[in-house]
Point group: C2
Chain length 376, copies 2
């Protein structure tokens, strides 16, 4: 998949260009992918959705359920036949469900779930991500903890905070905001987080359990979990279907493939060494793309009626935008809309799901502790 | 993949029938797969092969290197165009290489690698497997340890032995012979083996590291490791190739797929819920089949020129055999020979590689300990 072959924009009249920092948008921490896009915070809020809807039966069938918000997300798509998979709407619904669960837990046990975030240094983007995580926690009643250390801290100082959070029973999930300063050994620091609080789900033991039949991971990585949750909530059958995952990163592509396989899809993984990605992708009933290449997946790659989940959030130059850039996915959205049966927009698709899944993992962790405590 | 659709024998004149214990041949411990076939111990020894051959450059090109043994393995195949991938020959070569390494290690450090096997109960097949592991160790100079416990032992007694082997610095690998008596919690007992001595490579932490880019497992499961080793030694290019793994067991199919992906193949996993296994398999340049279905993969499933690695060892009734049965693979060997460019026979293909890889893992473990010791 040589990158020069792919158009950076699938509207031929566009002057958009691939910005140099695009590739990192998928390779960074999953949560960062979500928080990269400030557009989530300026868009109009989605309409209220009843939280009594059952998780597996919430099927968007028409504009009645795809909502006015979904319609606004797909505003540029004038010839769409695909359903819009509205991640922003679903994420809001999930946050509401989590808020209800958190309130119930508090009432029954006096305990609220707690999420700790460790931030080292003064990166502005990292500070924004951490602030947004805190906001998201606040919105559902999860208690947030923050350790903010200066750029020139030692590894030992960071490890001391991790150790304290590991031992603090009011903390159920721990996130170390990446990237860490270059003088720190990232793997050593991440490995210090106890697996019982690894809400990012990146610990190799969690990944191993995810890969193995008959084993259960304590946590599933947030972005791929969000992709599968979107398929579930839109009633997309996975069992027995052909699925292609484009990209094999540790944080999205690989765990997404493992999750699809757990649900009995027949999975193929397309990556940078694949010689005929278009041909293979075109066989898929379900496509999950997570490569960070703007508009790489064209309409011609998509089997008519396929469901397309686009994880890429790629900033490309856009002179018409006041910010000078716009965000596009790995998939050429306009073309996909004409071929696919359902597609996630960018932004407003997978992105909002990542932080919703982080909250979900934190809640699960707290529930597990309470259940274990009750069992004693 | 409904099993009734598959012939139990691809020779139409045969009266062979699928024996009821076939499915377990792939689902049991990897080492058991190798040792199931007594034929390895009665066949004529392969001709001597120089151990000075470099691992990656040993390419079997013709009868000159495929050897008289390989020719005898493929004796029934009168119209073959495929190379025979001679696992018995390669396994012998690997054992010879290991013997050289063990001798060098002993000379340099005074240490020899040690493998401990724990056997609980009186199962005759298990006793045979353990005896054969001991023989294999002896043949390369690896010290073997054995703990034999009665059928009615308690879990605590087994755990005590594991703990002793965990703490014994002369033991570098620990195997618990499966199956354990039904009153024991297999997962609990297997989890007690320290990851540094998990030469079977089944620990979820090893599997997780195998799945993750940039991480290295301490041990790779023996049977899939043997499959990849055969591809390497026969000069089969993996990078950029389409590979299909049939079967997704924790001990063969899943780790085989992860290994192929680590080597930059484009991997698809076909399993019991796959609707069109033939169509997908036919796209593969490399096929690894590990399902335990005799002769399931027919010639029509194979792309001309593909390389076929057959992990299945399935006993089928055979009135013409003095034993009353014969062993066949998942792949219809006669048909595969006419289509594939190279194919492993059953027996004599993947089977002998499994125990060679077990010895290799034990040697690696001992080397790692010595290197760590030297580093202190």
């Amino acid at each position: 998949m040589p990158s020069p072959a792919f158009s950076t924009d699938c509207s031929s009249s566009s002057t958009a260009r691939f910005l140099p920092f695009t590739r990192s948008s998928v390779n960074r921490s999953a949560t960062a992918v979500f928080l990269r896009s400030p557009i989530h915070h300026v868009a109009a809020p989605p309409p209220a959705v009843s939280t009594s809807l059952k998780i597996r039966t919430f099927v968007v069938r028409s504009s009645a359920t795809s909502s006015s918000h979904a319609a606004s997300v797909a505003a540029n798509d004038t010839s769409s036949s695909a359903k819009v998979i509205d991640g922003k709407l679903v994420a809001k619904q999930i946050r509401e469900e989590i808020a209800v669960e958190v309130a119930k837990m508090k009432e029954a046990t006096g305990v609220v779930p707690g999420l700790a975030v460790i931030l080292v240094g003064d990166r502005k983007d990292s500070a924004t991500y951490v602030r947004n995580k805190k906001k998201a926690c606040d919105s559902v009643g999860i208690k947030s903890f923050e350790a903010k250390l200066p750029e020139d801290s030692t590894e030992e100082e960071v490890l001391k905070f991790i150790s304290e959070f590991n031992n603090d029973s009011s903390v159920h999930g721990i996130l170390v905001q990446l990237p860490l300063p270059p003088h720190m050994d990232e793997q050593k620091i991440l490995n210090a987080v106890t697996i019982e609080k690894d809400v990012d789900g990146f610990h190799p033991l969690n990944i191993g359990r995810l890969a193995m039949r008959g084993r259960e991971p304590l946590f599933v990585p947030c972005t791929p979990k969000g992709c599968i949750e979107l398929l579930h909530r839109y009633g997309v059958q996975i069992k027995g279907k052909r699925a292609v995952v484009i990209g094999r990163s540790n944080i999205v592509g690989m765990p997404a493939a493992l999750l699809l396989q757990r649900e009995d899809a027949t999975v193929s993984i397309v990556h940078s060494r694949t010689k005929n990605p278009e041909e293979i992708t075109k066989q898929a009933d379900i496509i999950i793309s997570a490569v960070g290449q703007p508009n790489m997946v064209r309409g011609s790659w998509i089997k008519p009626g396929a469901v397309v989940i686009d994880v890429g959030i790629n900033p490309v130059e856009d002179a018409s935008s006041p910010r000078g850039y716009k965000l596009v996915g790995d998939v050429c959205y306009e073309e996909a809309c004409k071929v696919a049966s359902a597609v996630t927009p960018v932004p407003g698709g997978v992105g909002p799901m990542t932080i919703a899944m982080l909250l979900s993992n934190t809640l699960s962790s707290a529930k597990r502790v309470e259940i274990e405590w009750l069992g004693k």
